[in-house]
Amino acid sequence: MPFAEGWRRLRRGTWRVAVAEESMTPALQPGDWLFLDPAPRRWPRRGSVVVVRQPGTGQLAIKRVAAGPGDVVLAGTEYVKLGDEAWLLGDGGGHSVDSRHYGPVPLDALVGRAWFRYWPPRRIGLIPRRRASSARARASIASKGKLRK
């Protein structure tokens, strides 16, 4: 039953997290406490902030969705069409460890979508879904014409 399954995931899932390190500044600061939507079944829209199990290390990482399933991205020197994967980038300049290091992230690595900051009190509120204001994100999404199979 989908409802029971969803409830189980909600109860067991991670729904409160603390942010460490700085690759998401200024949107998220180290020490921010966030609520997660712990039961996403698919990748949230571009610009959403998600928590994933980082490929390779398995550590929980928080990044922004730059491109989702069906998008074409420039991975290193090649254009790749994403399947059930997302291309994640940090907000903070060139120093973020993200899809540029570990490539597209599969759906089963997705832990949750960060949607609300409940601490510190000064900055309580919804976490804005940046409209790939990241020019970088837009730059990495290529036009389909460039796709080489």
């Binding site: 409160r16 942010v19 998220l28 928080i62």
Partner: protein, 139 residues
């Protein structure tokens, strides 16, 4: 910490990873790429000079492409360590870091332009020395 904040505090930490504070630097990638360049030059040397078959021609193109790609990787990796990792105190110990980096970048470009076994082995050696300096600053 008050009871309320203790109750509110998340139990899970998520990392907005960035390579500067975590200090994840490793010249291994550069060494591997330099080795690849040398190996490609070696493979290119083994190809027949006269009457190449279709397969030889395809291998030639492939080796050249890989060689140039990996020379570019050397440049990138060395540049990142040079600009992001090395600090003034390292420079005091190794005043020739800038010069070495510059020469490695030049050598890598030379390897991109030419098929030159000498340049390839020079590059490998230079990257190895760079790597040794890197690791000695970690001690």
């Amino acid at each position: 910490m008050s009871l309320v904040t203790r109750w509110l505090k998340p139990t899970t930490t998520v990392y907005a990873h960035c390579d500067v504070p975590c200090g994840i630097y490793d010249p291994h990638q550069a060494e591997l790429a330099a080795r690849t360049v040398a190996r490609m030059v070696e493979l290119l040397g083994q190809l027949p000079k006269e009457n190449p078959t279709e397969a030889d021609r395809q291998k030639f193109v492939r080796c050249v492409a890989v060689k140039e790609q990996h020379a570019e990787i050397v440049k990138h990796e060395i540049q990142v360590i040079w600009s992001d990792y090395f600090k003034p105190e390292h420079l005091e110990r190794y005043p020739d870091i800038h010069d070495r980096t510059w020469k490695i970048l030049k050598l890598a470009s030379k390897n991109k332009q030419n098929i030159d076994a000498q340049a390839a082995s020079d590059l490998e050696a230079a990257v190895k020395e760079f790597s040794d300096i890197f690791w000695s600053t970690k001690k």
